[in-house]
């Protein structure tokens, strides 16, 4: 038996090892990748994003409780940032989901972003595939606490829940932020705060300004710490999923995204390392005004 056979048969240890294999890009990774593609496309993929401290992890934990009551198994991918200086990371999301540790229907994996920008890690789309193949009904992804431009999750998840909380910025920031535009559902968490209603009103106004009123995005107020409103969120997501269920087209799209991320990182590393004479000469040509940017990009893409 190989890793992929084992993990599809429900072996959680094999799943954990396979995730490390693709994350580290080790020798097992290529084999795992190849075997996986015929076994994916069944899981509903739900992203949670939003500013640091908005309550994403706490809310996911409360949402898992609802999913489990409905009998659905859940895989969670929790991404936290890596230090740009040392490459190390403190991954703290799962501490907020500790109440599910005894439940075999829940599997949580923390990923460090490892230098990947955009709120995810380069391996994240692949870990979605692994959890999908392992048979989880729902795969939840928590992005790093995002500023304004980490919108990559929208390409990976079928449903993107953008979590805000009172006191983490005003409505002007919400309008500026790209994360408003990727929301399938908007959540105002920390509903126990006296400012929650005002935050919801600001978001409502910002939404209708931004989308010109064309897009109906539900706004749900929750208090993740008590569970208030989390049932409404679960129902809202279930309703959206029934309109757009997971499709076989999702997995090839994820594969494409992963390849895009890896190709970009590969090229970036080669460019920044500065040890490739061909790349050096392209840079010199651009600097000397002899080579246009568009042509330089074409040549660089061929090298990578």
């Amino acid at each position: 038996m190989n890793l992929v056979d084992d993990l599809t048969a429900g072996d959680r240890r094999a799943l954990a090892r396979a995730i490390s294999a693709v994350e580290d890009g080790g020798p097992e990774a290529a084999a795992v990748l190849a075997e996986l593609q015929s076994r994916v496309g069944k899981a509903a993929v739900i992203g949670f994003t939003g500013p640091p401290g908005a309550g994403k992890s706490t809310l996911i934990s409360a949402y898992i409780t609802h999913l489990r009551r409905a009998g659905r198994s859940v895989g969670v991918i929790a991404v936290d940032p890596s230090s740009p200086l040392t490459g190390g990371a403190v991954l703290g999301d799962r501490a907020r989901m500790a109440s599910h540790i005894d439940d075999d229907g829940v599997f949580i994996r923390s990923l460090a972003a490892r230098g990947h920008l955009g709120g995810l890690s380069a391996a994240a789309p692949f870990v979605v595939d692994l959890m999908d193949a392992a048979g989880f009904d729902v795969v939840i992804i928590e992005t790093v606490g995002t500023g304004q431009s980490e919108v990559e999750i929208a390409g990976l998840a079928g449903i993107t829940v953008v979590v805000f909380a009172p006191g983490l910025g005003d409505h002007l920031q919400a309008i500026k932020a790209g994360i408003m535009e990727i929301a399938t559902v908007l959540v105002v968490n920390k509903g126990d705060s006296p400012l929650a209603a005002a935050t919801a009103a600001h978001l409502y106004a910002a939404l209708h300004l931004n989308a010109g009123g064309h897009r109906e995005v539900p706004i749900v107020t929750t208090t993740a710490t008590t569970g208030d409103g989390v049932g409404d969120l679960a129902e809202t997501i279930a309703g959206l999923l029934s309109v757009r269920p997971p499709s076989p087209a999702d997995a090839p799209r994820r594969l494409r995204r992963m390849l895009a991320a890896l190709a970009a990182e590969n090229l970036k590393e080669k460019l920044l390392r500065g040890t490739n004479p061909e790349i050096d000469s392209i840079c010199d040509e651009v600097r000397g005004g002899r080579l246009g940017l568009a042509e330089a990009l074409r040549q660089l893409a061929r090298i990578a």
């Binding site: 954990a16 230090s83 490459g87 190390g88 501490a95 500790a98 540790i101 923390s110």
Partner: protein, 134 residues
């Protein structure tokens, strides 16, 4: 993409002081480790199950409440039950006379109060690098 050391850090039992272990988490992060921090009040089975899901290379626990002997024994038993074999590190307020007994139970390194950061990093790395070479 390269392999990084992944270590699960947790507090077990009733002990509710996490200042020390959070400092160790930052220290290890600053030396390139990926630290999965589980927070307070974890049971032995919870620590081991989290370490399995995270495919961790090591487990680190810290104690201030004098429960280290009982809790470490529970942890080692849970690891045997769940067939998990990784080095265990133990730190906090642990008296020196308990070190031998802890190591006999299977703890790889014991850090006494006052151990300096660089030494912690060096000893943890040493054990993990030896494990990898083996």
């Amino acid at each position: 993409m390269t392999k990084r050391h992944r270590i699960v850090l947790a507090k077990m039992g009733l002990d509710c002081h996490d200042t020390g272990i959070v400092i160790v988490a930052q220290l290890l992060r600053d030396h390139g480790f990926e630290v999965i921090y589980l927070g307070l009040h974890n049971s032995a089975d919870a620590v081991v199950k989290a370490a399995l899901q995270e495919n961790a290379d090591a487990i680190g626990i810290s104690f201030l409440s004098g429960q280290h002997m009982t809790q470490v024994r529970l942890l080692i038993e849970a690891m045997a039950r769940q067939r998990m074999q990784v080095p265990v590190f133990c730190g906090g307020v642990v008296p020196r006379e308990d070190a031998a007994e802890l190591q006999k139970m299977g703890v790889a390194e014991v850090f006494f109060p006052g151990t300096l950061g660089p030494e912690v990093v060096a000893r943890v790395s040493g054990v993990l690098d030896r494990g990898r070479a083996a």
